[in-house]
């Protein structure tokens, strides 16, 4: 099982709704993030310019560096293959934040612990969608098991041209999250 989010950047309108709904659902403090939209661009010279929005969050790496370096096992992979943090045993060494290739872990200043996107486990365990997926007005976000060919994200990847399916830079961590971006909307600039 490989639960993850796939984002169709061709449909993303850059409304930041995923970022806001994540903050509201998970009570993420001002200035802190579990999900952040990066504006990639503008690139080029007028009139040949392009830009896309890149929603970033834990990429649910198959070979997750964060769980390898965590000294206490606070960063762990649950039985469904989801990388999570048990804040009750986090010692606050920030080692996992250094090891994360994308800098998508958050330091909770109030609790002095590391936290990150949980794929809204409190919702998905009840059969619901993560808040960012549920609230995306462009219907650009898809949640499900990438090992299940009938899941929403698997179908999206299968329906997309292979050259339009992208991942963030892979340094051996094998990020599960995929981004769909076709060349008519923009040139992928964030990795593989």
């Amino acid at each position: 099982m490989r639960n993850a989010i796939v984002v169709d950047l061709d449909r993303c309108i850059g409304c930041f709704g995923c970022e806001i709904s994540c903050k509201m659902e998970n009570n993420v403090a001002l200035g802190e993030y579990w999900n952040k939209v990066i504006i990639e661009g503008p690139h080029g010279t007028f009139p040949d310019v392009e830009e896309y929005w890149l929603p970033t969050m834990c990429q649910q790496c198959e070979n997750s560096p964060c769980t390898h370096v965590c000294p206490t096992g606070a960063s762990y992979r649950n039985e469904d293959g989801v990388v999570l943090i048990d804040k009750s045993v986090c010692i606050g060494c920030k080692y996992c934040m250094m090891a994360c290739p994308y800098g998508v872990r958050n330091w909770n200043k109030e609790q002095n612990v590391v936290e990150k996107c949980t794929l809204c486990q409190h919702l998905t365990s009840q059969g619901k969608e993560p808040a960012c997926v549920h609230n995306c007005p462009g219907e650009a976000r898809f949640y499900g098991d990438l090992d299940d060919p009938n899941s929403d994200p698997s179908r999206l990847i299968a329906e997309s041209a292979p050259e339009d399916v992208h991942h963030l830079k892979n340094v051996g961590n094998n990020p599960s999250t995929a981004y769909i971006l076709s060349s008519r909307f923009g040139t992928w600039r964030n990795g593989d």
């Binding site: 993030y33 952040k36 990066i38 970033t56 560096p65 390898h68 370096v69 965590c70 000294p71 206490t72 096992g73 606070a74 009750s88 045993v89 986090c90 010692i91 606050g92 060494c93 920030k94 080692y95 934040m97 250094m98 090891a99 994360c100 290739p101 994308y102 800098g103 998508v104 872990r105 958050n106 330091w107 002095n112 612990v113 963030l168 830079k169 340094v171 051996g172 961590n173 964030n190």
Partner: protein
């Protein structure tokens, strides 16, 4: 990235302690500065303990530290275990000092091996694909080299203090080791920093690591061979400079932090 002073002190002090005890182990067989060995063992133990305490100060929740026993592959776990084992060997060495020569020698060698390994592993823990400027074997080698200079300088200092009434020739090996440590610090620091020296603000700490931390101890070691009457002054200067160099090298590592990506823009 901010300099993690707790970790700078942890790695510099425990590395110094490990290599100081390596000086003890060498003399257990060379038998030139034996009077220094008990004192040097105590100093090495103190350095291990103070360094270990310094590392804990950067944790937000040290009360959860025992959970580390559940995850033995982490670099932090390995460092903690090496500090514990090295300290245990040093304590047994001190207890056996006037009782059993075989136990003493075995513990000296074993403690030295673990202590030296600790100085390398303390740098090895930072090897991660996510950070370009850390992900090179030159980093742990620089940790090892700078620790060698500070530890062997400290051994020469203890030897100079404890052997002030003996012939200068007895200090020869201690000062040769000091010079070797200086060469190791200068070379390994230079090799690592050459690869990450893009930022101009690294120049000061680079000079500190290579020149102050390596070349000065080397010069002191050579001078000590010729002017043994100045052994105490030279070893004081060498130890101070080697520690400054070790700290500079570690500060440079933190200042040179370049992550693969930092999408959330969090300053660590």
């Amino acid at each position: 990235m901010e300099i993690a002073w707790s970790l700078v002190l942890f790695t510099a002090l425990t590395g110094c302690g490990g290599w100081l005890f390596a000086g003890v182990a060498i003399d257990e067989f060379a038998k030139k500065t034996s009077k220094a060995n008990f004192t040097a063992g105590i100093v090495a133990l103190v350095l291990m303990i103070v360094g270990g305490v310094a590392s804990v100060t950067h944790l937000a929740h040290p009360e959860n530290m025992l959970a580390a026993l559940n995850h033995p592959t982490s670099g932090i776990f390995i460092e903690a275990v090496l500090v514990g084992i090295a300290s245990a060997f040093i304590i047994v060495y001190l207890v056996a000092y006037n009782r059993n020569e075989t136990v003493r020698r075995v513990c000296a060698v074993a403690g030295a091996v673990v202590g030296v390994a600790l100085s390398f592993m303390a740098g090895h823990s930072y090897l991660m694909d996510a950070v370009y400027t850390w992900n090179t074997m030159l980093l742990p080698l620089a940790y090892l080299g700078t620790a060698a200079a500070s530890g062997l300088s400290a051994y020469a200092l203890v030897a100079a203090i404890r052997h002030n009434e003996t012939t200068p020739a007895d200090l020869k090996i201690a000062f040769i080791l000091l010079a070797v440590g200086g060469v190791a610090a200068a070379l390994t620091s230079l090799l690592y920093l050459t690869g990450v020296m893009d930022a101009a603000d690294l120049m000061l700490v680079a000079v500190g690591a290579v020149a102050v931390g390596g070349i000065v101890p080397l010069a002191c070691g050579i001078a000590g061979l010729k002017a043994a009457n100045s052994a105490l002054v030279l070893s004081v200067v060498a130890t101070a400079c080697a520690l400054i160099g070790a700290i500079c090298l570690r500060c440079a590592m933190w200042m040179a932090y370049v992550p693969l990506e930092n999408f959330f823009g969090i300053a660590l």
